[in-house]
Symmetry: C2
Subunit: 384 residues, 2 copies
């Protein structure tokens, strides 16, 4: 096992009716900026529940944070925080609203040039507004971690930043808020959580049997519960199980002492930046190709994953690995997500573009730092 | 799934050489009281490592905290904290030192009568000294939770208390500190962690598939790694895996949204108070009897546990449950722990004494509140 540090102080309040408890956790006398996305919280009653729970607080609102939260949008919220002297940010929505709100929280006090530098330079964030969340879309794990991914359309960039200072103070997770999610978002969330797990698990073995099993626990549960919510979107327990899986998938726990990859995400971000794929779609496209390309280096973990999550025990190792990748692809497709680049009108000509963009910023990917420009192209050729 | 709250802000620093990093996490200028137990930290070099890391701090020491930490001992440390105006407590040891230090931290500011009231009355703890730990014995999970169990020999009582205020600010877990543990303590730790898990898992099902699998992950890993450390006490990875299992077993995670029991612990505490059994011994004695007694109410979970942890799939349900309990007993015995009350000179006459003590304070045990005085006696008769 590798040495590690684990720290996750976000308080999680989980279950039916939890939104009504908001004021228990939010310090009194705070001027709150409620941030949200495209307005689904107006239609599904979440906005009303939140505002009722916030009676007694001074509340401003900032809506319109888009999927793949956009720098130029977030800058406007930063201005509001400064002008209105906001004390506390409450993100109500999914991972994009949360990530965008984390950016707002840190940018509020950033005075060392353009706050986009937080995403591209090696900047240490020294202060941030406190924030919390009411999660309405289980997917990214942002409700209980220190990370965010922000897009800058003008520059055509999509980049992560991390700071303990932007960890939510608390997050409220009420599975009922997800009953009315569009199917596509439900599916994307399941795939996002699934790929978060495998990026931290299907690497090379450093003797972390508990963390491995914790990872497999999430994967098996997603495989089991995913079809249930598609069959019955108001199945409370299935919604709750998926919500808890997504949080556990990226809260820092399963990566403790283990080796992470993140190559699929890094390549996937470029597909989103270039062709507008949903984040989960980009992951479902890239992962199979990356695994085929890396099947020697990931051999033992692919075999273990195949056996424990998919029950694949027969045949020689190569056949089992092929079978394991095929099962994973079939799972994505069974949820209705297309996994071939051509399905998204990405032709082979585009592969070099992806590789060039990664190479231009010196990105060497994978847990062995062995995936450079030519390997990215090879990986994309193996995607289908 | 049931509604729940999860909060665990303790920072964990895990791995070889971590003690040297102490000063990174301890605020400067603090007057520190280093608490410890019987002195094994002097023999194994941990004390030296800690003191070196604390160069630059004013450090007092309080040794002699015993297994099943004793109220009268802890009172002396409370006096020191008051007289010397101690700022910060650093527990260096196992669960007993940690639990005792938690009591010291809260008793320091307790001024509403005898601080034993924190353990027996419904007292809300309003202030505590900050504390942290260097863990040397993986077992209780106290390094990352809000609980402590304290003994009061004069009253013949052993009781838990809980407060978020006594959560360690950080805990340092270096598996190398456990290389020289006496075999008995190593074994006790494995059993303690194992029973912590089953108390939160082998109950009744409320649809928590992820939490179930997280519990099974810990159990399977303990079963796998336990024999390795007995065979080779300096096996770093096996020590690390057991240490991480013990922390995960009682950090609040696997009980999220699920149903806990704790009947085995409550009965076991009485065996310790009356006959001086090690905590883990008491659990190994009580658990099989409790499961036999509760096999209808715990039916589905016992079957699931038997199948997933022990691979028991054949035979009718009763046979599988018997086989599952037998496997568990055999596991405890394979570690060298005796599981029959008679092994500890506890005769059937004593069973009523246990039951009377629990009944005297109105304890009704088990996840169905169905274990009263007569059931406790029946359970003990089924122990062997």
């Amino acid at each position: 096992m590798e040495n590690f540090e684990y720290y996750n102080p976000t308080r999680l309040i989980f279950g039916r009716g939890s939104i009504a408890r908001l004021a228990e956790f939010l310090p009194t006398g705070q001027k709150v900026l409620l941030t949200y996305g495209g307005g689904s919280i107006m239609a599904n009653g979440v906005h009303r529940q939140v505002r009722e729970a916030l009676a007694g607080y001074e509340v401003l609102e900032f809506g319109g944070i888009e999927a793949n939260p956009e720098y130029s949008t977030l800058r406007k919220a930063v201005q509001i925080c400064r002008q209105e002297d906001v004390d506390f940010l409450l993100a109500v929505g999914g991972g994009s609203v949360l990530d965008g709100t984390k950016f707002i929280a840190a940018a509020r006090f950033f005075d060392d040039g353009d706050p986009w530098r937080m995403c591209v330079d090696d900047v240490v964030i020294e202060r941030a507004l406190p924030l919390a969340s009411v999660l309405t879309l289980p997917a990214t794990g942002s409700e209980a971690n220190a990370g965010a991914v922000i897009s800058h359309r003008e520059l055509g960039q999509k980049r992560p930043f991390m700071s303990d200072l932007v960890r939510p103070k608390f997050s409220i997770l009420d599975p009922e808020t997800t009953f009315t999610l569009p199917t596509r978002q439900t599916i994307n969330g399941i795939i996002d959580a699934f790929v978060h797990v495998v990026e931290q698990y299907v690497t090379y073995d450093v003797n972390t049997p508990l963390q491995d099993r914790q990872a497999e626990a999430i994967l098996s549960t997603l495989v089991e519960e995913g079809p249930k919510v598609l069959a019955d979107p108001r199945n409370y327990d299935a919604r709750a199980n998926i919500m808890w899986c997504a949080t556990q998938a990226l809260n820092g726990l399963i990566r403790c002492g283990a080796i992470s990859d993140w190559g699929t995400h890094m390549i996937g971000h470029e597909l989103t930046a270039l062709w507008g794929l949903d984040h989960a779609q980009s992951l479902a496209v890239v992962l199979p190709g990356l695994w085929r390309h890396e099947k020697q280096r990931k051999r033992n973990k692919l075999l273990q994953y195949g056996e424990r999550v998919w029950g694949i025990r027969d045949g020689d190792e190569n056949a089992r690995i092929e079978g394991t990748i095929a099962k994973t692809v079939a799972f994505f497709q069974s949820l209705g997500v297309k996994t071939n680049p051509a399905d998204y009108d990405i032709s082979e000509d585009g592969y070099a573009k992806v590789a060039d963009r990664l190479a231009a910023r010196g990105a060497i990917l994978g847990e062995h730092d062995a995936i450079g420009r030519s390997e990215v192209i090879s990986i994309l050729k193996l995607c289908n």
